[in-house]
């Protein structure tokens, strides 16, 4: 295997990891505030449908991405209304949101089935992008990838180093105490859930604008659920979520390459490798450091201020 081939595989890995990471990062923020939103798949698929539709009509990938973000956030608003304001069961509402999103996205996208767009533009810096071996990987990705990395930096910084992050974590760890200290618990949670929806919508838009630039019903194909699992895998830490997304995307892409190369193992086993790798990584992580997880104590618990 030469350098160009390795680069090509790595570029594919980045593409496979980006939508997973975007959705996982958003969900991670929502969960750190104590809200478990199982509707990631539904918000993602709405982002994919709305993102493609808007980009197709306006001809602008940026408008498409913004529409994806808006639709994801709109779905999240519905979820926040149910679970944060009316304190309905988060699990039931999340599942309903997924089913609702899968159906509604079919309606939103029904006029756009069978149409295609050019893929989202890639960064191109003369001299750097053409560098052999690493140029395309580092300087030639599409803009979504750089946006995702910027978001990772931002989220990691805000969560760990700012007062806003401290408040968010306090709400997720003990909403009673936070409330007693005068923190607007429900407002914080609504904002966190909205951010989660926006990220999921952006991840969905990535699928229909950059990954495979067309719209087709249910094209997320379960990526929202993988994103949910990644949050647990990452033990609620942003950079670990990035690592998990790359690991999972990488294992998926590598097993496809291994099959194409003719490694002679059964296809079903190869398809299971990403999941096996994830389990293995989880075991290793838990062996290394027991106190590594920062699971929010209030995860899944509704906050009713007058009780």
């Amino acid at each position: 295997m030469n350098g160009e081939m390795a680069q090509l595989i790595l570029v594919t890995v980045v593409t496979a990891a980006t939508p997973l990471f975007l959705a996982a990062l958003g969900e991670l923020v929502a969960e750190r505030s104590g809200v478990l939103n199982l509707g990631v798949e539904g918000m993602m698929v709405m982002g994919a449908a709305g993102g493609f539709a808007a980009a197709y009509v306006t001809g602008s990938t940026l408008v498409g991405a913004l529409a994806g973000i808006a639709l994801g956030a709109l779905m999240a608003l519905l979820f926040a209304l149910l679970t944060v304001v009316f304190a309905v069961s988060q699990v039931a509402s999340g599942l309903a949101l997924t089913i609702f999103g899968l159906g509604l996205s079919g309606l939103v996208g029904s006029g756009f089935v069978g149409l295609k767009r050019d893929p989202a533009p890639h960064l191109s810096i003369p001299g750097l992008t053409d560098l052999p071996g690493v140029g395309r990987l580092v300087f030639g990705e599409d803009y979504f990838v750089y946006a995702a990395l910027a978001l990772a930096v931002l989220v990691s910084f805000v969560l760990g180093r700012t007062r806003a992050g401290l408040v968010l974590r306090a709400v997720g760890d003990n909403h009673g105490s936070a409330h007693a200290l005068g923190v607007p618990v429900r407002r914080v949670r609504i904002l966190a859930v909205l951010f989660g929806g926006a990220c999921a919508g952006l991840g969905g838009a990535y699928l229909s604008l950059a990954y495979t630039p067309f719209w087709s019903p249910e094209m997320t194909a379960g990526r929202g659920w993988i994103a949910l699992a990644l949050v647990v895998f990452a033990s609620w830490r942003p950079w670990r979520a990035l690592g998990g997304a790359v690991l999972f995307g990488g294992a998926t892409v590598l097993q496809l390459h291994a099959q194409a190369f003719g490694i002679g193992l059964p296809g079903q086993f190869m398809s299971a490798i990403p999941y096996l790798a994830t389990v293995l990584a989880l075991v290793l992580l838990s062996l290394r450091r027991r106190a590594g997880s920062v699971a929010p104590a209030m995860l899944g618990t509704a906050f009713v201020p007058d009780r």
Binding site: T15, V113, P217, L256, H257, A260, G267, F269
Partner: protein, 355 residues
């Protein structure tokens, strides 16, 4: 429970008798789809067939369709159609088999048809298409067009339908180029655009310059277009996704079959049957042959004509299995029953069949 069913059947029969008297000259035909008609794939193609039927008969038939019907909840859909005076009802998914059979027994006066299943009743027929015939032609084309003598094949699940497609593809390719190579990637999904695209990328990186697929999205074709190699469309004409890459599409075409069945019901000649039609019956249609030299196009058209006339049989012996043992003896043709349960590769396929 039994009394209730009987009672329901009596009520339904009475209702049907009423509607039959009123709508003597108008045949009501119902369709039940597993997916949305907007999927641009399997259910979409069935609905194209329904529209074709409607156009052919004009106001002599009235068609109804129910889309997105869950397989385990489909009994109600069939009952609803049967109760509302539909005389011929098509269930288009494998999973509708048992519910449809149950309803067929309740409504002996209504004709039922079930796609891709294997259970028959006096008023329930089955129908399916020989897609492997088209894949044989695609194999021939690939062997002519490929410069690296290698096709990349994206496969969904190791079921007979997919395996017979791979075998037919290779038999066609080997007729043109005995040393033709196939690289197979199993994605374990019928539909996952992202994964299908990644599989295409992997195959192209490993030197495949023609991509064939037995999955449903247009993603592999788009990757082929991007990489400047060739590909084939699946289920419908996908030319607009890859105008430079597409060679042809393997299209489902149910319209003519639906027209024939409606005609039979109208003439009173409808009988329960098990139909497995291919290119000759028009149930499988090859899309336009594009992006290939004239002689390759002529070859493909000739093979298509020969399969239609019966001169070429895809699974005619001698065919050797992957390990060299005899698959089909010289002078013999593999019986349909064996094709429907095919679980071995032909010689020259370099892949381990997942069992």
């Amino acid at each position: 429970m039994r009394d209730w069913v009987k009672g329901a059947a009596v009520v339904a029969l009475a209702a049907m008798a009423g509607s039959a008297a009123r709508a003597e000259d108008k045949l009501k035909v119902g369709f039940v789809y597993v997916g949305p008609v907007g999927d641009f794939g399997y259910s979409y193609q069935h609905d194209q067939g329904r529209q074709f039927l409607q156009k052919q008969f004009g106001d002599k038939v009235e068609t109804t369709f129910l889309e997105n019907v869950a397989e385990n909840d489909s009994q109600r859909a069939f009952e609803q159609l049967a109760r509302s005076g539909h005389k011929l009802i098509f269930g288009t998914s494998f999973g509708f088999m048992d519910p449809e059979l149950k309803v067929a027994k309740q409504f002996p006066g209504v004709k039922f048809e079930h796609a891709t299943g294997y259970k028959l009743a006096p008023n329930l027929s089955t129908y399916s298409a020989r897609f492997y015939e088209g894949r044989y032609i695609m194999g021939e084309i690939a062997a002519k067009v490929s410069k690296n003598h290698t096709v990349g094949y994206i496969a969904s699940f190791p079921i007979p339908e997919v395996v017979s497609g791979i075998d037919a593809f290779m038999l066609g390719a080997q007729k043109v180029d005995p040393n033709f190579k196939i690289k197979i990637v199993w994605v374990n999904s019928w539909f996952d655009p992202g994964k299908e695209a990644d599989a295409a990328k992997a195959l192209i990186a490993q030197g495949a310059d023609v991509i064939a697929q037995h999955t449903d999205s247009a993603a592999p074709l788009q990757e082929a277009e991007k990489a400047g190699v060739h590909g084939f469309g699946q289920s419908s004409d996908m030319a607009k996704f890859a105008p430079k890459a597409i060679l042809t599409s393997l299209e489902d075409n149910w319209g003519p079959y639906y027209v024939g069945e409606v005609k039979a019901v109208m003439d009173g000649t409808w009988k329960s049957h098990d139909t497995w039609g291919g290119l000759a019956a028009g149930m499988v249609v090859m899309g336009p042959y594009e992006n290939m030299p004239a002689d390759v196009k002529a070859m493909a058209e000739q093979t298509e004509a020969d399969i239609k006339s019966g001169k070429v049989k895809v699974f005619a012996g001698p065919i050797a299995k992957q390990d060299g043992s005899v698959g089909v003896k010289p002078g013999e043709v593999m019986p349909d029953k064996e094709i429907l349960g095919l679980n071995w590769y032909v010689k020259g396929v370099d892949d381990k069949l997942p069992q």
